[in-house]
Assembly symmetry: D3
Homo-oligomer: 159 residues x 6
Amino acid sequence: MEQTVYFEDYQIGSSRTTSGRTITETDFVVHAGHTGDFFPHHMDAEFMKTTPFGQRIAHGTLVFSVGVGLTASIINPVAFSYGYDRLRFIKPVFIGDTIKTRTTISAKEDDPKRPDCGRVIERCEVINQHGDVVLAADHIYIVERRDKPGGASTDGAKT
Amino acid sequence: MEQTVYFEDYQIGSSRTTSGRTITETDFVVHAGHTGDFFPHHMDAEFMKTTPFGQRIAHGTLVFSVGVGLTASIINPVAFSYGYDRLRFIKPVFIGDTIKTRTTISAKEDDPKRPDCGRVIERCEVINQHGDVVLAADHIYIVERRDKPGGASTDGAKT
Amino acid sequence: MEQTVYFEDYQIGSSRTTSGRTITETDFVVHAGHTGDFFPHHMDAEFMKTTPFGQRIAHGTLVFSVGVGLTASIINPVAFSYGYDRLRFIKPVFIGDTIKTRTTISAKEDDPKRPDCGRVIERCEVINQHGDVVLAADHIYIVERRDKPGGASTDGAKT
Amino acid sequence: MEQTVYFEDYQIGSSRTTSGRTITETDFVVHAGHTGDFFPHHMDAEFMKTTPFGQRIAHGTLVFSVGVGLTASIINPVAFSYGYDRLRFIKPVFIGDTIKTRTTISAKEDDPKRPDCGRVIERCEVINQHGDVVLAADHIYIVERRDKPGGASTDGAKT
Amino acid sequence: MEQTVYFEDYQIGSSRTTSGRTITETDFVVHAGHTGDFFPHHMDAEFMKTTPFGQRIAHGTLVFSVGVGLTASIINPVAFSYGYDRLRFIKPVFIGDTIKTRTTISAKEDDPKRPDCGRVIERCEVINQHGDVVLAADHIYIVERRDKPGGASTDGAKT
Amino acid sequence: MEQTVYFEDYQIGSSRTTSGRTITETDFVVHAGHTGDFFPHHMDAEFMKTTPFGQRIAHGTLVFSVGVGLTASIINPVAFSYGYDRLRFIKPVFIGDTIKTRTTISAKEDDPKRPDCGRVIERCEVINQHGDVVLAADHIYIVERRDKPGGASTDGAKT
């Protein structure tokens, strides 16, 4: 689905939580095969028994990719992803954990290079079944302004 | 393979480049299926013909995950990944592009919470077959110091 | 996302079309591997050159599964899938075709076994980039009535 | 393998049962990734604990695709699949269930549009390890007649 | 399907050829992800342009696994696989090549350790669309004798 | 990574052991889907309960492919794989077993057809978490000699 939301329409503090997804052993194996990272932390149950974790832990990029993927439900055609700041791996994710992602609009800024756009910062928190935040990151979107500084509104200009 | 490298041993400016990997249509489909992100930007060739890109573009999380995965060759048992700063999606990656990752030690810092460790910042740049940087990020490692502030060296303590 | 829609609220003739998805060679290989159907119609390009199709054709179950999957965006907690009637494989789907699914509420019926529910028939048509219907089926949902025959409305009873 | 069977040769009541296949958590994850259907019924173990099922249930399209795939062992070059009628999802399939498919020739009909062919109805029943039918459907094949109404036998005409 | 064939019943020189399968880029990516072998020979199209091959070549283990898999159609319950001799990678397999496997019973031997069994050597040749043998190996089966040296026939003992 | 090792530099008896990898149910399902071998030995938990194994066992080609894949860490640009001798499936591998591969240089031979090269035999043993060898094979490499019989050293000739 598609929903046009202009820079002006983002409300700081507005938040939503995705549906949940259980992270399976399959996801570990798929992610290793997709990325080529077969480090024993993710793939060797015997080795991990000898560590404080006691079991395999998910790749950071797995939790990030799936956590971000959970939020991919509505397309905003006047926004694009610029990048992420402060991506942090806070707690391990184990096989069988169920994660959700909570996104919160945390800041809005001018975009120094694009006067017709602004930057929207969306705080992403990946949360497990115990309510613990396991990964956090600030997603930076570049979003068109409805009211362009030097001209007419673009409202309705999209088809 | 495993290679112990202490905080003191990281050299600012030292750099390495991974082997290359061609990003295939399969990687797009696998990443969509892994993350649940089936946005038409990645999955709908007809739609993308109508955009300035002209074709499907890789998920940002795909380029990040595979780009980081390319660096996963040697385990440093005295380091762990803390997170990433300034992750930026700089250029699109298309089906058939071949990427490599260049990593450069760019900074070393004290870790405010862990006196026995320091922070090593590794600049990661994912580069395509034209030499363009398509994604960049600063990887933050927490690395043990060989010489702990309040005590004996841990040299040789690892087995 | 979740949206409660009772039997009374389905409107015959209401229709929606999903976003598109390009069916790739990867989808053929994944579907063969998932189902165990490696018939040469789907897997042997040389053999298919000798047939009127001239190339590999998608499994019927692939087009059905992906076509139905494209509609899986909003959960209706008061409905469940009962089955399908008149599933027909109308035209072949080739590697590189892009499909969308158009769903239309085509009929509503009492459910003989469940007086508190009704049957909603949703016509599903999978359409390729040329506008041709390649697969059609009538999806039967069992949906709760807001006004139960022998009792109070359940409006608001769901949380 | 290939085996030519003409319309006249199908025997109503003849039946066969495939070998078995255990439906794994991997199949759930693969099917979600293949179809894009990540509904919590299939993917969120925590949510499903709160429902009468108590655990994740397989996608209907998974059981159908794998159940049909189990029957794909012998190619009949004078038959093709026309579609399915009365596809019904009868019981849930859980992770770890083992299914087989029993097919029975249940009817033979003239094909109104193709005098040289007839329709063969094959009843497909997917059965779990408890002997319960979990899915049923009537598969419709269009099959060439050996004795064409207006002409010579085609026996031996295929190579 | 299952078919009991005793040691005595194998005919030296008897041969069969499987159906074909086109080796796709997807198979390369899946095999790399399955095995962890991301060597540039298989994964880096740019690098391979600089070699005499001019393009990516399939993993030896891919051609072996798929070539052997093509033969897996009939289960012989009185035989098991002992191993392979003289496995040779004869020619490269490229993306888009279509392979078949020809198996020929090439020898029968006593089994020194199992008097009730014999060894059957099945020559496996994987052949591409040009008729070239790309991989060959001698598959060794241990097969029960119908007439056990020290006792009664087991004919009919299997159910 | 790349490391040039000439025929003269291989030391008979030198050995290394890879990191470990837990063989998961996912690997079974992926391998079946990759090769098309869905024999009940690997895929039907109910059937396997009735056998002496008591549970599903890994495909021989799975253990071989993953066991060999574990060794794929350093590229030797002056060597290529010629084939394998004496590949033996010694013990079953079950879901949840963790395997490593130990490689030992066991022999060096002249190559009758390539005077500038020699053959290096690397004994490969795949070992489970109990220390049992589950698969063994002799890998044959063709490796360039540093000192070519009829000419100058090639040392440094590679770029």
